[in-house]
């Protein structure tokens, strides 16, 4: 009986699946996951299964980390016997809502170019006997399906694990069920809202901007969305306290933080909401409906303006003949050639790297994310420095204020180093394979110069005048010198055994020591951006103490040089492909 029913369902599903419209829906779903764009560039294609697993991981990990907080035995051992679970759960609930919105929003930004049908779809589908209306609806259904799939995937683990962890100390099973349902409602709706909000932003841009402007503007808007999401995540721990201190009035900033609305919804459904949270929960349904309706309208207008007219758009190419503003000898590139880039390889490589970072969507997005994180952490440090400090001078010399250039330089240097590993259209790297000397070891030097040229002038230009104004030239000079020296040393360290031209090599394989590398980055950050400013804060009061940093700097300078000297020639060769390390290696004694 069950087998027969399953057979019937399978046959009906199979029949539907093969109908032109649903076949197109499947195509769009696969396209959104597997990438779009006009080129078949070797991008980061992870496959649907792996993407879904990766998206589900953060919720699972965070839930497991909370076991320590909610475990009844652990609470009893700490002497905590009477706990109002629903009261202490509020900050964690908010964090889950923010996490779900951030991850879903990030997915939408990542798949930004693939959400709408593009030129490839146009060239493949429009010459076939299918109406453009059907293409519109097929893509819309694919997008809606993905919203639901991603919302469930991102929150699946937290919807089960977090209530399990929270209800572990409760005796009634119904508590678990109620908690899980309310939590699921909050995080799922948050996810849907985040995706639709990004979809709305893209739709409005498409509806309003002409195609050429869209390409340029959308890159910046994506960057802003990433910065917003990073900001949302970084402020997740502070917002619940701010809401508690709101004093009965709904703060105006909550209009820009829809995550608070969903927290309000959860608390209202549990009957634990104060007036502020009750007022915030009232925004959820109108907010989602408004975003959905406007997104749909914007999508329809954008589709008509862009997709239906793709043939006309691609046939009209306008060449920009804007004359240069400065005479050749004063242009930035020419000045750099004279001052910093000495060989032909460095000159050509520097331009290639900078232009790739500026023009490749994936790289721009990654750098914007890193930049956003750097700005958020720096702003937090600035706030901490100003908070509770009486004088401007004391604030400027506090470890928090001194850490700002360290935070910025660390994240930008490490971010650039990571971005160098992400390849761009590997089919085009034949020119480098053909022309570059594989024994030449200039790649490390080139990467070093790129990082330092991009980081140092900005650091010096901000740190020196600000501290000269606040603390005088001696402190400004010492602080700037320390920041610059640390940036140079960090650059040398992150480029140890770097033997590739950025963007031209396949992605590095995940190795066992990748975890160690990640831990080293975290430890390095603490050492670089926390411990150093703390020492500096006390040393600046007695500048001679700064001399004690010289041995540290000498060691940090010597280690990369020592490793470079002791690397065998084979490991210095320029590579274009990351090969796996064999499990068993032959000794090749006869070679």
């Amino acid at each position: 009986m069950i087998t027969q029913a399953a057979d019937v369902i399978f046959r009906v599903w199979d029949d539907h699946r093969r109908r032109p419209f649903w076949r197109m829906v499947q195509l769009f779903v696969a396209r959104i996951f597997r990438g779009a764009g006009d080129s078949d560039a070797d991008g980061l294609d992870l496959g649907i299964g792996l993407v879904l697993t990766l998206l589900a991981l953060p919720g699972a990990f965070v839930s497991l980390f909370l076991m320590d907080k909610y475990g009844s035995l652990l609470q009893w051992l700490r002497g905590i016997t009477h706990v109002d679970t629903l009261a202490i759960v509020l900050p964690d609930e908010y964090f889950f809502i923010v996490l779900s919105m951030t991850v879903t929003g990030a997915v939408a930004v990542w798949r930004w170019d693939a959400i709408f049908p593009d030129r490839r779809d146009y060239m493949n589908l429009v010459p076939l006997p299918i109406s453009t209306r059907n293409i519109f609806f097929a893509n819309l259904i694919a997008v809606l399906f993905l919203v639901i799939l991603i919302a469930f995937d991102v929150n699946a683990a937290s919807c089960v694990l977090f209530p399990t962890v929270v209800a572990a100390s409760q005796s009634e099973f119904i508590f678990f069920v109620k908690f899980a349902v309310v939590h699921a409602a909050g995080v799922l709706l948050g996810s849907v809202f985040a995706f639709l909000a990004v979809f709305l932003t893209l739709g409005i841009l498409m509806a309003v901007l002409p195609p050429r402007a869209l390409q340029r503007v959308s890159a910046y808007v994506r960057g802003l969305v990433v910065v917003y999401l990073v900001g949302l995540l970084c402020t997740a721990f502070a917002v619940p306290d701010l809401l508690r201190q709101a004093g009965g009035h709904v703060p105006s900033w909550t209009a820009l933080m829809p995550s608070t609305w969903f927290l309000g919804l959860c608390q209202s459904l549990r009957g634990r909401a104060d007036p502020v949270l009750t007022a915030l929960s009232a925004r959820v349904i109108p907010g989602i409906v408004a975003v959905a309706v406007v997104a749909l309208c914007a999508y329809a207008v954008g589709y008509r303006r862009h997709f239906v007219r793709i043939a006309e758009i691609t046939d009209t190419t306008v060449i920009d003949h804007t004359p240069a503003l400065l005479p050749r000898k004063w242009r930035f590139g020419v000045l750099l050639d004279r001052l910093a880039l000495h060989t032909a390889f460095q000159k050509g490589g520097f331009r290639f790297i900078c232009k790739t970072m500026l023009r490749s969507e994936a790289h721009r997005l990654a750098l914007t994310g890193v930049g956003g994180l750097a700005l958020v952490l720096a702003s937090q440090a600035l706030l901490d420095a100003v908070e509770g400090t009486r004088s401007r001078r004391a604030a400027a010399l506090s470890p928090d204020a001194l850490s700002i250039p360290f935070i910025l330089s660390f994240l930008v240097i490490v971010g650039l180093r990571i971005v160098f590993e992400v390849p761009v259209d590997l089919r085009s790297n034949w020119i480098f394979q053909l022309m570059l000397d594989s024994d030449g070891q200039e790649c490390e030097r080139l990467a070093q110069r790129v990082i330092l040229i991009l980081v140092l002038p900005g650091l010096v230009a901000i740190t020196l005048p600000v501290y000269a104004y606040l603390e005088g030239w001696l402190v400004a000079g010492l602080h700037t010198l320390l920041v610059a020296t640390w940036a140079v040393l960090l650059t040398n360290i992150v480029l140890i055994r770097f033997r590739k031209l950025p963007f031209t090599c396949t992605l590095p394989l995940f190795k066992q020591h990748s975890f160690v590398t990640m831990l080293s980055f975290v430890f390095g950050f603490l050492l670089y951006a926390r411990s150093t400013p703390e020492f500096e804060s006390s040393a600046l009061l007695e500048p001679v103490r700064m001399l004690s940093l010289i041995p540290v700097a000498a060691v940090a300078w010597y280690v990369p040089h020592f490793l470079a000297k002791n690397t065998i020639d084979l490991e210095k060769k320029l590579i274009f492909e990351e090969s796996p390390t064999p499990t068993i290696e032959a000794l090749r004694l006869s070679d």
């Binding site: 032109p20 078949d40 493949n124 010459p127 006997p129 109406s131 046939d315």
Partner: protein
């Protein structure tokens, strides 16, 4: 019969094609020649219904194609200039997708796909993703996608690009065979020898305007020379030898 009647296409105020008229009868293979920017691609896009003409109409059997684009596209097989394919689909999956979207009956579709993949020497690679295909293999996939529903009209835009010698020879014979079957074939190319060999008639465009339209034999007879020389005579008023000499001298140029 496919007819272009006073077709004009303007982008903003720039004319891409001006007052283009021709007809394509069953069994006729019409070649379209012209240098870059002469309006060939725009013409092809108007013939396929991808672009709406600013003025004039494209008629199929006396009806404006824009009035029932779906019915017209059911009769159309099109090979675009650039092989924009979905790299994550396999060759077989792509053809199955196109067949499904064209509304081809299932058993026929699978049989046809297998047979055509075999004939175009792609059967061993049918389950490899298109991302791994060479340019020639992609081009063959596009050719199969265009012909597998046995349409009435064929529009080929640079169909030989990337094909190896054998596949190119097969394709040339295929075009002639389609002509003999009474199909309508519009063939756009830069390769003059191929046009000369496979097309019965030729249309030469320059700056969006038709400058010659006749049978291949007539055009050659009137000017008393090969199609290549005729093309150069009509289209390009450049001395190719002197341009080549200039290129060499620029190559050898050294900074003072």
């Amino acid at each position: 019969m496919l007819e272009a009647v006073h077709l004009t296409k303007r982008y903003a105020s720039l004319p891409a094609v001006q007052d283009l008229s021709f007809s394509l009868r069953p069994g006729q293979v019409l070649g379209c020649l012209g240098p870059n920017g002469s309006g060939k691609s725009t013409t092809v896009k108007m013939l396929t219904g991808l672009l709406q003409p600013t003025r004039g109409v494209v008629q199929f059997d006396g009806h404006n194609i824009q009035h029932d684009l779906m019915a017209y596209r059911k009769c159309l097989g099109y090979v675009p200039e650039e092989p924009h394919l979905y790299p994550y689909l396999t060759g077989w999956e792509y053809l199955e997708l196109i067949g499904t979207l064209r509304g081809m009956p299932r058993p026929d579709l699978e049989k046809k796909i297998d047979s055509l993949l075999e004939l175009f020497s792609l059967h061993p690679n049918r389950h490899a993703s298109i991302g791994c295909y060479s340019k020639g293999m992609r081009q063959r996939i596009l050719l199969i996608a265009a012909i597998m529903d046995d349409p009435e009209i064929f529009i080929f835009d640079e169909p030989l690009s990337g094909l190896d010698v054998t596949s190119a020879l097969i394709f040339k014979n295929l075009v002639q065979a389609l002509g003999r079957q009474g199909k309508l074939v519009f063939y756009c190319s830069h390769v003059l020898e191929v046009v000369e060999k496979v097309c019965s008639d030729v249309l030469i465009l320059r700056k969006g305007v038709v400058i010659a339209q006749d049978s291949v034999t007539n055009i050659g007879r009137i000017l008393g020379q090969s199609l290549e020389n005729t093309f150069l005579h009509l289209v390009d008023d450049v001395d190719t030898m002197s341009v080549a000499r200039d290129i060499v001298s620029v190559m050898q140029m050294k900074a003072a």
